[in-house]
Protein backbone atom coordinates (compact mmCIF):
# COMPACT_ATOMS: atom_id res chain seq x y z
CA UNK A 1 0.00 0.00 0.00
CA UNK A 2 2.94 2.30 0.69
CA UNK A 3 4.09 2.98 -2.84
CA UNK A 4 0.67 3.09 -4.49
CA UNK A 5 0.12 6.18 -6.60
CA UNK A 6 -3.39 6.71 -7.86
CA UNK A 7 -2.64 8.50 -11.12
CA UNK A 8 -5.40 8.36 -13.69
CA UNK A 9 -6.09 10.00 -17.04
CA UNK A 10 -9.84 10.50 -16.60
CA UNK A 11 -12.70 9.79 -14.21
CA UNK A 12 -15.05 6.91 -14.85
CA UNK A 13 -18.85 6.96 -14.75
CA UNK A 14 -21.44 4.21 -14.99
CA UNK A 15 -24.44 5.01 -17.18
CA UNK A 16 -26.26 1.71 -17.64
CA UNK A 17 -26.65 -1.76 -16.18
CA UNK A 18 -28.61 -4.90 -16.91
CA UNK A 19 -29.14 -8.43 -15.66
CA UNK A 20 -31.05 -11.58 -16.56
CA UNK A 21 -33.14 -13.55 -14.12
CA UNK A 22 -31.21 -15.77 -11.70
CA UNK A 23 -32.55 -19.31 -11.51
CA UNK A 24 -31.19 -22.75 -10.65
CA UNK A 25 -31.34 -23.87 -14.30
CA UNK A 26 -31.87 -21.75 -17.37
CA UNK A 27 -32.56 -22.96 -20.89
CA UNK A 28 -30.40 -20.35 -22.62
CA UNK A 29 -26.75 -20.98 -23.40
CA UNK A 30 -24.10 -18.75 -21.83
CA UNK A 31 -23.85 -16.73 -25.03
CA UNK A 32 -27.59 -16.02 -25.06
CA UNK A 33 -27.60 -15.02 -21.37
CA UNK A 34 -24.73 -12.56 -21.96
CA UNK A 35 -26.63 -11.13 -24.91
CA UNK A 36 -29.77 -10.49 -22.80
CA UNK A 37 -27.82 -8.74 -20.05
CA UNK A 38 -25.85 -6.57 -22.48
CA UNK A 39 -29.00 -5.62 -24.40
CA UNK A 40 -30.64 -4.39 -21.19
CA UNK A 41 -27.55 -2.38 -20.18
CA UNK A 42 -27.27 -0.74 -23.60
CA UNK A 43 -30.99 0.13 -23.50
CA UNK A 44 -30.64 1.90 -20.18
CA UNK A 45 -27.52 3.74 -21.29
CA UNK A 46 -29.08 4.78 -24.58
CA UNK A 47 -26.16 3.35 -26.56
CA UNK A 48 -25.74 0.98 -29.45
CA UNK A 49 -23.22 -1.90 -29.63
CA UNK A 50 -21.21 0.07 -32.20
CA UNK A 51 -20.54 2.74 -29.52
CA UNK A 52 -18.72 0.21 -27.33
CA UNK A 53 -14.94 0.41 -27.71
CA UNK A 54 -13.68 -2.38 -25.45
CA UNK A 55 -15.23 -5.29 -23.59
CA UNK A 56 -14.28 -6.98 -20.31
CA UNK A 57 -15.83 -10.33 -19.47
CA UNK A 58 -15.79 -11.90 -16.04
CA UNK A 59 -16.59 -15.55 -15.56
CA UNK A 60 -15.60 -18.05 -12.87
CA UNK A 61 -14.12 -21.54 -13.35
CA UNK A 62 -14.41 -23.19 -16.74
CA UNK A 63 -15.39 -26.35 -14.87
CA UNK A 64 -18.94 -25.10 -14.26
CA UNK A 65 -19.91 -24.46 -17.88
CA UNK A 66 -17.78 -27.36 -19.04
CA UNK A 67 -16.13 -25.30 -21.78
CA UNK A 68 -12.39 -24.76 -21.62
CA UNK A 69 -11.48 -21.17 -22.57
CA UNK A 70 -14.89 -19.92 -21.48
CA UNK A 71 -14.02 -16.29 -22.16
CA UNK A 72 -13.46 -17.00 -25.83
CA UNK A 73 -16.63 -19.09 -26.00
CA UNK A 74 -18.79 -16.26 -24.65
CA UNK A 75 -17.24 -13.61 -26.88
CA UNK A 76 -19.92 -13.14 -29.52
CA UNK A 77 -22.78 -12.98 -27.03
CA UNK A 78 -20.90 -10.38 -25.00
CA UNK A 79 -20.41 -7.97 -27.87
CA UNK A 80 -16.72 -8.77 -28.12
CA UNK A 81 -16.62 -9.31 -31.88
CA UNK A 82 -14.11 -7.10 -33.65
CA UNK A 83 -12.99 -5.16 -30.60
CA UNK A 84 -10.43 -5.51 -27.80
CA UNK A 85 -11.78 -8.12 -25.40
CA UNK A 86 -10.39 -9.69 -22.27
CA UNK A 87 -11.55 -12.08 -19.61
CA UNK A 88 -10.74 -11.65 -15.94
CA UNK A 89 -11.22 -14.24 -13.29
CA UNK A 90 -10.51 -14.19 -9.60
CA UNK A 91 -12.97 -16.76 -8.30
CA UNK A 92 -15.97 -15.40 -6.47
CA UNK A 93 -14.42 -11.93 -6.38
CA UNK A 94 -14.98 -11.61 -10.13
CA UNK A 95 -18.36 -9.96 -9.54
CA UNK A 96 -16.61 -6.75 -8.46
CA UNK A 97 -13.24 -7.44 -10.10
CA UNK A 98 -14.69 -7.29 -13.63
CA UNK A 99 -15.98 -3.72 -13.15
CA UNK A 100 -12.58 -2.86 -11.62
CA UNK A 101 -10.94 -4.14 -14.82
CA UNK A 102 -13.43 -2.06 -16.81
CA UNK A 103 -12.37 0.90 -14.68
CA UNK A 104 -8.74 0.39 -15.73
CA UNK A 105 -9.72 0.51 -19.40
CA UNK A 106 -11.45 3.89 -19.10
CA UNK A 107 -9.37 5.54 -16.37
CA UNK A 108 -6.18 4.86 -18.33
CA UNK A 109 -7.58 6.72 -21.29
CA UNK A 110 -7.33 3.67 -23.55
CA UNK A 111 -11.10 3.65 -24.07
CA UNK A 112 -13.94 6.08 -23.53
CA UNK A 113 -16.71 3.47 -23.50
CA UNK A 114 -16.15 0.07 -21.96
CA UNK A 115 -18.69 -2.71 -21.55
CA UNK A 116 -18.36 -5.10 -18.61
CA UNK A 117 -20.19 -8.44 -18.79
CA UNK A 118 -20.35 -11.28 -16.30
CA UNK A 119 -21.97 -14.64 -16.95
CA UNK A 120 -22.24 -17.94 -15.16
CA UNK A 121 -23.97 -21.19 -16.01
CA UNK A 122 -23.51 -23.46 -13.03
CA UNK A 123 -26.31 -25.84 -13.98
CA UNK A 124 -24.20 -27.45 -16.73
CA UNK A 125 -22.28 -29.22 -13.99
CA UNK A 126 -24.50 -32.22 -13.32
CA UNK A 127 -25.99 -33.21 -10.88
CA UNK A 128 -24.66 -30.45 -8.64
CA UNK A 129 -21.98 -27.76 -9.10
CA UNK A 130 -20.44 -28.93 -5.80
CA UNK A 131 -18.64 -31.61 -7.80
CA UNK A 132 -16.60 -28.92 -9.57
CA UNK A 133 -15.95 -27.05 -6.33
CA UNK A 134 -14.14 -29.97 -4.77
CA UNK A 135 -11.11 -29.39 -7.04
CA UNK A 136 -10.31 -26.11 -5.32
CA UNK A 137 -8.74 -27.98 -2.42
CA UNK A 138 -5.00 -28.71 -2.20
CA UNK A 139 -4.52 -32.11 -3.87
CA UNK A 140 -2.00 -33.41 -1.36
CA UNK A 141 -2.95 -32.02 2.01
CA UNK A 142 -6.70 -31.67 1.77
CA UNK A 143 -8.37 -33.66 -1.01
CA UNK A 144 -7.58 -37.13 0.45
CA UNK A 145 -9.83 -36.20 3.39
CA UNK A 146 -12.78 -35.90 0.98
CA UNK A 147 -13.83 -32.38 1.97
CA UNK A 148 -16.89 -30.46 0.86
CA UNK A 149 -16.53 -26.73 0.28
CA UNK A 150 -19.19 -26.04 2.91
CA UNK A 151 -16.66 -27.25 5.52
CA UNK A 152 -14.45 -24.22 5.09
CA UNK A 153 -17.39 -21.89 5.65
CA UNK A 154 -18.53 -23.86 8.66
CA UNK A 155 -15.04 -23.68 10.16
CA UNK A 156 -14.88 -19.93 9.57
CA UNK A 157 -18.39 -19.37 10.92
CA UNK A 158 -17.58 -21.31 14.10
CA UNK A 159 -14.40 -19.25 14.61
CA UNK A 160 -16.27 -15.96 14.02
CA UNK A 161 -19.00 -16.96 16.47
CA UNK A 162 -16.43 -18.03 19.07
CA UNK A 163 -14.15 -14.97 18.96
CA UNK A 164 -16.97 -12.41 18.83
CA UNK A 165 -19.32 -14.36 21.09
CA UNK A 166 -22.20 -14.27 18.60
CA UNK A 167 -25.21 -16.59 18.68
CA UNK A 168 -26.60 -18.32 15.60
CA UNK A 169 -29.92 -16.49 16.15
CA UNK A 170 -28.26 -13.14 15.44
CA UNK A 171 -26.60 -14.47 12.32
CA UNK A 172 -29.88 -15.97 11.09
CA UNK A 173 -31.40 -12.47 11.14
CA UNK A 174 -29.28 -11.68 8.07
CA UNK A 175 -30.81 -14.54 6.10
CA UNK A 176 -34.31 -13.42 7.14
CA UNK A 177 -33.58 -9.80 6.12
CA UNK A 178 -32.02 -10.59 2.75
CA UNK A 179 -34.58 -13.15 1.65
CA UNK A 180 -37.34 -10.66 2.51
CA UNK A 181 -35.55 -7.82 0.67
CA UNK A 182 -35.34 -10.00 -2.43
CA UNK A 183 -39.14 -10.20 -2.69
CA UNK A 184 -38.90 -6.82 -4.45
CA UNK A 185 -36.33 -7.99 -6.99
CA UNK A 186 -37.72 -9.20 -10.35
CA UNK A 187 -34.80 -11.58 -10.92
CA UNK A 188 -34.81 -13.29 -7.53
CA UNK A 189 -34.50 -17.05 -7.21
CA UNK A 190 -35.13 -17.77 -3.53
CA UNK A 191 -36.96 -14.76 -2.17
CA UNK A 192 -39.33 -15.68 0.65
CA UNK A 193 -40.53 -14.59 4.04
CA UNK A 194 -38.88 -16.80 6.67
CA UNK A 195 -38.22 -16.53 10.39
CA UNK A 196 -35.17 -17.12 12.57
CA UNK A 197 -36.83 -20.38 13.70
CA UNK A 198 -36.97 -21.61 10.10
CA UNK A 199 -33.25 -21.01 9.71
CA UNK A 200 -32.29 -22.73 12.96
CA UNK A 201 -34.48 -25.76 12.19
CA UNK A 202 -33.40 -26.18 8.55
CA UNK A 203 -31.39 -29.19 7.39
CA UNK A 204 -27.86 -29.30 8.91
CA UNK A 205 -25.17 -29.34 6.23
CA UNK A 206 -21.93 -28.87 8.17
CA UNK A 207 -22.77 -27.49 11.56
CA UNK A 208 -23.10 -24.65 12.34
CA UNK A 209 -24.10 -24.06 8.71
CA UNK A 210 -27.65 -25.07 7.88
CA UNK A 211 -29.47 -25.06 4.57
CA UNK A 212 -31.15 -21.64 4.98
CA UNK A 213 -27.78 -20.07 5.84
CA UNK A 214 -26.51 -20.80 2.32
CA UNK A 215 -27.14 -19.13 -1.03
CA UNK A 216 -28.13 -21.42 -3.94
CA UNK A 217 -26.10 -22.04 -7.12
CA UNK A 218 -27.63 -20.20 -10.07
CA UNK A 219 -27.40 -19.39 -13.77
CA UNK A 220 -27.42 -15.77 -14.83
CA UNK A 221 -25.63 -12.84 -16.41
CA UNK A 222 -25.15 -9.14 -15.73
CA UNK A 223 -23.65 -6.17 -17.58
CA UNK A 224 -22.47 -2.61 -16.92
CA UNK A 225 -21.51 0.26 -19.22
CA UNK A 226 -18.60 2.45 -18.05
CA UNK A 227 -17.80 5.70 -19.83
CA UNK A 228 -15.51 8.72 -19.73
CA UNK A 229 -16.84 12.03 -18.33
CA UNK A 230 -17.45 13.76 -21.67
CA UNK A 231 -19.55 10.83 -22.90
CA UNK A 232 -21.44 10.65 -19.59
CA UNK A 233 -22.40 14.33 -19.93
CA UNK A 234 -24.00 13.66 -23.33
CA UNK A 235 -26.02 10.71 -22.08
CA UNK A 236 -27.36 11.71 -18.70
CA UNK A 237 -27.61 14.41 -16.03
CA UNK A 238 -26.97 11.92 -13.27
CA UNK A 239 -24.09 9.54 -13.95
CA UNK A 240 -22.77 7.53 -11.05
CA UNK A 241 -19.01 7.94 -10.59
CA UNK A 242 -16.54 5.23 -9.58
CA UNK A 243 -14.48 6.97 -6.91
CA UNK A 244 -12.38 4.13 -5.52
CA UNK A 245 -11.27 0.60 -6.37
CA UNK A 246 -9.26 -1.90 -4.37
CA UNK A 247 -8.35 -5.55 -4.53
CA UNK A 248 -6.20 -7.83 -2.43
CA UNK A 249 -5.57 -11.55 -2.19
CA UNK A 250 -4.30 -13.74 0.63
CA UNK A 251 -2.60 -17.17 0.35
CA UNK A 252 -4.25 -20.57 -0.01
CA UNK A 253 -2.67 -21.52 3.33
CA UNK A 254 -5.97 -20.65 4.97
CA UNK A 255 -5.23 -22.95 7.89
CA UNK A 256 -2.40 -20.62 8.88
CA UNK A 257 -4.74 -17.68 9.50
CA UNK A 258 -7.14 -16.80 12.24
CA UNK A 259 -10.34 -16.86 10.26
CA UNK A 260 -12.47 -14.55 12.38
CA UNK A 261 -11.43 -11.38 10.49
CA UNK A 262 -10.99 -11.03 6.70
CA UNK A 263 -7.78 -9.03 6.53
CA UNK A 264 -7.70 -9.26 2.71
CA UNK A 265 -11.06 -7.43 2.55
CA UNK A 266 -9.74 -4.80 4.99
CA UNK A 267 -6.67 -4.25 2.77
CA UNK A 268 -8.74 -3.95 -0.39
CA UNK A 269 -11.13 -1.58 1.37
CA UNK A 270 -8.24 0.52 2.64
CA UNK A 271 -6.99 0.97 -0.93
CA UNK A 272 -10.44 1.86 -2.25
CA UNK A 273 -11.22 4.26 0.60
CA UNK A 274 -7.90 6.04 0.15
CA UNK A 275 -8.69 6.61 -3.52
CA UNK A 276 -12.17 7.81 -2.65
CA UNK A 277 -10.97 10.04 0.24
CA UNK A 278 -13.09 8.20 2.79
CA UNK A 279 -11.75 8.35 6.33
CA UNK A 280 -14.77 7.20 8.35
CA UNK A 281 -16.63 4.51 6.40
CA UNK A 282 -19.36 4.05 9.02
CA UNK A 283 -20.43 7.67 8.63
CA UNK A 284 -19.51 8.39 5.02
CA UNK A 285 -20.97 5.28 3.33
CA UNK A 286 -24.73 5.49 2.80
CA UNK A 287 -25.48 2.08 1.34
CA UNK A 288 -23.43 -1.12 1.15
CA UNK A 289 -23.55 -4.41 -0.72
CA UNK A 290 -21.01 -6.76 0.89
CA UNK A 291 -20.80 -10.29 -0.47
CA UNK A 292 -23.21 -12.61 1.34
CA UNK A 293 -22.94 -16.21 0.05
CA UNK A 294 -23.65 -17.21 3.67
CA UNK A 295 -25.44 -15.13 6.25
CA UNK A 296 -22.48 -14.82 8.61
CA UNK A 297 -20.38 -13.62 5.65
CA UNK A 298 -22.36 -10.37 5.47
CA UNK A 299 -21.38 -9.62 9.08
CA UNK A 300 -17.80 -10.81 8.50
CA UNK A 301 -17.39 -8.52 5.51
CA UNK A 302 -19.11 -5.55 7.13
CA UNK A 303 -16.38 -5.65 9.76
CA UNK A 304 -13.70 -6.10 7.09
CA UNK A 305 -15.03 -3.07 5.21
CA UNK A 306 -14.87 -0.98 8.37
CA UNK A 307 -18.64 -0.45 8.47
CA UNK A 308 -18.71 -1.95 11.95
CA UNK A 309 -16.10 -2.56 14.62
CA UNK A 310 -15.01 -6.15 15.24
CA UNK A 311 -17.99 -7.94 16.75
CA UNK A 312 -20.36 -5.02 16.23
CA UNK A 313 -22.01 -6.15 12.99
CA UNK A 314 -24.51 -8.60 14.58
CA UNK A 315 -25.57 -5.84 17.01
CA UNK A 316 -26.24 -3.43 14.12
CA UNK A 317 -28.30 -6.11 12.39
CA UNK A 318 -30.33 -6.86 15.50
CA UNK A 319 -31.08 -3.19 16.02
CA UNK A 320 -32.36 -2.78 12.46
CA UNK A 321 -29.58 -0.41 11.38
CA UNK A 322 -28.90 -2.54 8.30
CA UNK A 323 -32.52 -2.77 7.13
CA UNK A 324 -33.63 -0.89 4.03
CA UNK A 325 -35.07 1.92 6.08
CA UNK A 326 -32.19 1.94 8.57
CA UNK A 327 -29.25 4.21 9.00
CA UNK A 328 -26.83 2.00 7.00
CA UNK A 329 -28.84 -0.24 4.64
CA UNK A 330 -26.88 -3.40 3.80
CA UNK A 331 -27.83 -5.65 0.87
CA UNK A 332 -31.07 -3.82 -0.03
CA UNK A 333 -31.28 -5.95 -3.20
CA UNK A 334 -31.63 -9.14 -1.22
CA UNK A 335 -28.04 -10.10 -1.94
CA UNK A 336 -26.94 -13.59 -2.85
CA UNK A 337 -29.06 -15.15 -0.12
CA UNK A 338 -32.25 -13.82 -1.68
CA UNK A 339 -31.56 -13.37 -5.37
CA UNK A 340 -29.10 -16.16 -6.14
CA UNK A 341 -25.38 -16.92 -6.42
CA UNK A 342 -24.10 -17.28 -9.98
CA UNK A 343 -20.50 -16.64 -8.85
CA UNK A 344 -19.31 -14.01 -11.36
CA UNK A 345 -22.74 -12.76 -12.41
CA UNK A 346 -23.31 -11.62 -8.81
CA UNK A 347 -22.16 -8.29 -10.28
CA UNK A 348 -25.89 -7.82 -10.89
CA UNK A 349 -26.69 -7.68 -7.18
CA UNK A 350 -23.47 -5.99 -6.09
CA UNK A 351 -22.07 -3.40 -8.49
CA UNK A 352 -25.25 -2.95 -10.56
CA UNK A 353 -27.37 -2.62 -7.40
CA UNK A 354 -25.20 0.13 -5.89
CA UNK A 355 -25.32 1.91 -9.24
CA UNK A 356 -29.13 1.69 -9.35
CA UNK A 357 -29.43 2.82 -5.72
CA UNK A 358 -27.20 5.86 -6.30
CA UNK A 359 -29.08 6.71 -9.53
CA UNK A 360 -32.40 6.38 -7.63
CA UNK A 361 -33.60 3.73 -10.08
CA UNK A 362 -34.01 0.76 -7.76
CA UNK A 363 -37.81 1.00 -7.67
CA UNK A 364 -39.30 -0.84 -4.72
CA UNK A 365 -35.83 -1.68 -3.42
CA UNK A 366 -34.75 1.98 -3.17
CA UNK A 367 -33.50 2.73 0.34
CA UNK A 368 -35.40 5.26 2.40
CA UNK A 369 -32.57 7.71 3.09
CA UNK A 370 -30.79 10.02 0.70
CA UNK A 371 -27.72 8.36 -0.78
CA UNK A 372 -24.47 9.84 -2.02
CA UNK A 373 -21.82 7.14 -1.57
CA UNK A 374 -22.07 3.39 -1.78
CA UNK A 375 -19.66 0.46 -1.57
CA UNK A 376 -19.87 -3.00 -3.10
CA UNK A 377 -17.56 -5.89 -2.33
CA UNK A 378 -16.95 -9.43 -3.51
CA UNK A 379 -15.04 -12.32 -1.99
CA UNK A 380 -13.70 -15.59 -3.36
CA UNK A 381 -11.93 -18.93 -3.22
CA UNK A 382 -10.27 -20.41 -0.15
CA UNK A 383 -11.05 -17.36 1.99
CA UNK A 384 -8.64 -15.33 -0.11
CA UNK A 385 -10.00 -12.63 -2.34
CA UNK A 386 -11.28 -9.19 -1.45
CA UNK A 387 -12.41 -6.82 -4.21
CA UNK A 388 -14.00 -3.48 -3.32
CA UNK A 389 -15.51 -0.66 -5.37
CA UNK A 390 -16.74 2.69 -4.03
CA UNK A 391 -19.21 4.74 -6.07
CA UNK A 392 -20.73 8.16 -5.64
CA UNK A 393 -23.31 10.26 -7.44
CA UNK A 394 -21.41 13.45 -6.64
CA UNK A 395 -18.08 14.02 -8.32
Amino acid sequence: MKGLKFHKKQDVAIVGAGMTTFKRRLLETGKELSYFAVKQALEEAGLDISDIEMVVMGSAPDAFDGVALKGEYLLDGSGGSDRPYMRVFVGGGTGVFAPIAGYWHVASGLADVCLVVCEEKMSSCYPHPQSAFKYIWDPILERPLKPNLIWIFALEMRRYMHVNNVKHEDIALVSVKNKANALDHPCAQVAEKITVEDVLKSEPMALPVRRLDVSPPSDGAAALVMVAPHIARQLTDEPVWVTGVGWCLDTTHWTNRDLYFPRYVAEAARMAYRMAHITDPRKQIDVAEPYDPFDYKELHHMEGLGLARKGEAPILTREGVTARDGDLPVCPSGGLLGVGNPIAATMGVKACEIYWQLAYRAGKRQVAKEVTTGVCQAWGDLMQVGTVMVMSNKR
Partner: protein, 152 residues
Protein backbone atom coordinates in the same frame (compact mmCIF):
# COMPACT_ATOMS: atom_id res chain seq x y z
CA UNK B 1 19.44 -23.70 2.98
CA UNK B 2 17.24 -26.22 1.25
CA UNK B 3 18.81 -29.43 -0.08
CA UNK B 4 17.86 -30.11 -3.68
CA UNK B 5 16.36 -33.50 -4.37
CA UNK B 6 18.30 -34.95 -7.34
CA UNK B 7 17.07 -38.54 -7.23
CA UNK B 8 13.79 -38.62 -9.26
CA UNK B 9 12.58 -41.60 -7.22
CA UNK B 10 12.44 -39.33 -4.19
CA UNK B 11 10.37 -36.63 -5.90
CA UNK B 12 6.92 -37.89 -5.32
CA UNK B 13 3.79 -37.78 -7.34
CA UNK B 14 0.47 -37.82 -5.62
CA UNK B 15 -1.65 -39.84 -5.71
CA UNK B 16 0.35 -42.81 -7.02
CA UNK B 17 -1.34 -44.01 -10.19
CA UNK B 18 -3.02 -40.68 -10.85
CA UNK B 19 -6.16 -39.05 -9.43
CA UNK B 20 -9.30 -38.93 -11.48
CA UNK B 21 -11.24 -35.70 -11.88
CA UNK B 22 -14.89 -36.69 -11.77
CA UNK B 23 -17.02 -34.23 -13.64
CA UNK B 24 -20.22 -34.64 -15.60
CA UNK B 25 -21.72 -31.98 -17.79
CA UNK B 26 -25.13 -31.37 -19.35
CA UNK B 27 -25.16 -28.67 -22.00
CA UNK B 28 -28.60 -27.27 -22.84
CA UNK B 29 -28.97 -26.24 -26.47
CA UNK B 30 -30.30 -22.78 -25.72
CA UNK B 31 -33.19 -21.02 -27.41
CA UNK B 32 -31.76 -21.16 -30.93
CA UNK B 33 -30.54 -24.74 -30.50
CA UNK B 34 -33.97 -25.92 -29.27
CA UNK B 35 -35.60 -24.45 -32.39
CA UNK B 36 -32.95 -26.01 -34.67
CA UNK B 37 -33.30 -29.53 -33.26
CA UNK B 38 -37.10 -29.30 -33.19
CA UNK B 39 -37.16 -28.49 -36.90
CA UNK B 40 -34.57 -31.22 -37.59
CA UNK B 41 -37.01 -33.76 -36.16
CA UNK B 42 -39.40 -32.70 -38.93
CA UNK B 43 -36.60 -33.17 -41.46
CA UNK B 44 -36.06 -29.41 -41.97
CA UNK B 45 -32.94 -27.23 -41.53
CA UNK B 46 -33.11 -23.65 -40.28
CA UNK B 47 -30.68 -20.73 -40.22
CA UNK B 48 -31.17 -17.22 -38.83
CA UNK B 49 -30.91 -13.83 -40.49
CA UNK B 50 -30.15 -10.50 -38.77
CA UNK B 51 -33.07 -8.10 -39.11
CA UNK B 52 -30.69 -5.14 -39.40
CA UNK B 53 -27.66 -6.10 -41.49
CA UNK B 54 -28.98 -9.25 -43.15
CA UNK B 55 -26.04 -11.49 -42.13
CA UNK B 56 -27.20 -15.12 -42.43
CA UNK B 57 -26.04 -17.25 -39.49
CA UNK B 58 -25.53 -20.97 -39.43
CA UNK B 59 -25.67 -22.48 -36.80
CA UNK B 60 -28.66 -20.24 -36.00
CA UNK B 61 -28.42 -17.65 -33.22
CA UNK B 62 -31.01 -15.38 -31.58
CA UNK B 63 -28.78 -12.28 -31.83
CA UNK B 64 -26.49 -10.75 -34.42
CA UNK B 65 -23.00 -10.54 -32.97
CA UNK B 66 -22.11 -7.43 -34.99
CA UNK B 67 -25.01 -5.08 -34.37
CA UNK B 68 -26.72 -6.88 -31.45
CA UNK B 69 -30.07 -6.77 -33.24
CA UNK B 70 -32.57 -9.63 -33.20
CA UNK B 71 -32.61 -12.33 -35.83
CA UNK B 72 -35.41 -14.30 -37.47
CA UNK B 73 -35.33 -17.99 -38.38
CA UNK B 74 -35.77 -19.12 -41.98
CA UNK B 75 -35.64 -22.48 -43.73
CA UNK B 76 -32.75 -23.78 -45.80
CA UNK B 77 -32.27 -26.98 -47.77
CA UNK B 78 -29.41 -28.34 -45.69
CA UNK B 79 -27.41 -29.06 -48.81
CA UNK B 80 -24.12 -27.39 -49.56
CA UNK B 81 -20.68 -27.72 -51.05
CA UNK B 82 -17.43 -28.82 -49.50
CA UNK B 83 -15.12 -25.90 -48.64
CA UNK B 84 -12.36 -27.94 -47.00
CA UNK B 85 -11.84 -31.53 -45.90
CA UNK B 86 -9.38 -33.81 -44.17
CA UNK B 87 -8.96 -37.57 -43.94
CA UNK B 88 -8.60 -38.48 -40.28
CA UNK B 89 -6.46 -41.56 -39.67
CA UNK B 90 -6.45 -41.67 -35.87
CA UNK B 91 -9.38 -41.52 -33.49
CA UNK B 92 -9.64 -39.86 -30.02
CA UNK B 93 -7.61 -42.63 -28.38
CA UNK B 94 -5.04 -42.69 -31.22
CA UNK B 95 -6.38 -45.99 -32.58
CA UNK B 96 -6.32 -46.30 -36.40
CA UNK B 97 -9.48 -45.42 -38.30
CA UNK B 98 -10.40 -43.72 -41.56
CA UNK B 99 -12.96 -40.95 -41.78
CA UNK B 100 -13.45 -37.94 -44.04
CA UNK B 101 -14.27 -34.80 -42.02
CA UNK B 102 -15.38 -31.78 -44.04
CA UNK B 103 -16.32 -28.13 -43.62
CA UNK B 104 -19.48 -27.76 -45.70
CA UNK B 105 -20.79 -24.33 -46.77
CA UNK B 106 -24.55 -24.52 -46.59
CA UNK B 107 -26.66 -23.01 -49.39
CA UNK B 108 -28.45 -19.83 -48.46
CA UNK B 109 -26.30 -19.02 -45.41
CA UNK B 110 -22.96 -17.37 -44.58
CA UNK B 111 -22.07 -20.25 -42.29
CA UNK B 112 -20.63 -23.73 -42.45
CA UNK B 113 -21.24 -27.05 -40.76
CA UNK B 114 -18.53 -29.48 -39.65
CA UNK B 115 -19.52 -33.06 -40.36
CA UNK B 116 -18.53 -36.50 -41.70
CA UNK B 117 -18.74 -37.47 -45.39
CA UNK B 118 -19.54 -41.06 -46.32
CA UNK B 119 -20.46 -43.00 -49.48
CA UNK B 120 -18.04 -40.85 -51.52
CA UNK B 121 -15.36 -42.35 -53.73
CA UNK B 122 -13.33 -39.14 -54.08
CA UNK B 123 -13.87 -35.97 -52.11
CA UNK B 124 -12.87 -32.65 -53.63
CA UNK B 125 -13.39 -29.00 -52.81
CA UNK B 126 -16.53 -27.66 -54.41
CA UNK B 127 -18.26 -31.05 -54.36
CA UNK B 128 -22.02 -30.84 -53.74
CA UNK B 129 -23.29 -32.86 -50.76
CA UNK B 130 -26.59 -33.44 -49.02
CA UNK B 131 -27.44 -34.65 -45.51
CA UNK B 132 -28.67 -38.06 -44.40
CA UNK B 133 -30.74 -37.86 -41.22
CA UNK B 134 -31.66 -40.40 -38.56
CA UNK B 135 -35.26 -41.58 -38.41
CA UNK B 136 -37.36 -39.06 -36.46
CA UNK B 137 -38.05 -41.48 -33.60
CA UNK B 138 -34.30 -42.18 -33.11
CA UNK B 139 -33.30 -38.53 -32.92
CA UNK B 140 -31.64 -37.48 -29.66
CA UNK B 141 -31.54 -33.70 -30.08
CA UNK B 142 -27.85 -33.24 -30.90
CA UNK B 143 -25.68 -32.82 -33.99
CA UNK B 144 -25.44 -36.60 -34.53
CA UNK B 145 -29.10 -36.60 -35.57
CA UNK B 146 -27.52 -35.81 -38.93
CA UNK B 147 -25.85 -39.16 -39.63
CA UNK B 148 -23.51 -37.98 -42.38
CA UNK B 149 -23.30 -36.07 -45.66
CA UNK B 150 -23.16 -37.82 -49.00
CA UNK B 151 -22.54 -36.66 -52.54
CA UNK B 152 -25.65 -35.04 -54.03
Amino acid sequence: MIEKIVDPEKLRHFPPGGGKIELYWIYTSGKAGEEFFRKLREGKFIASKCKKCGHRYFPPRIYCEFDFAETEFYEISGEGCVEAFTIAKLDLNEEPMEEVIALIKLDGTDGRILHVIKEAKDVCIGMRVRPVLKKAEDMQGNICDILYYKPA
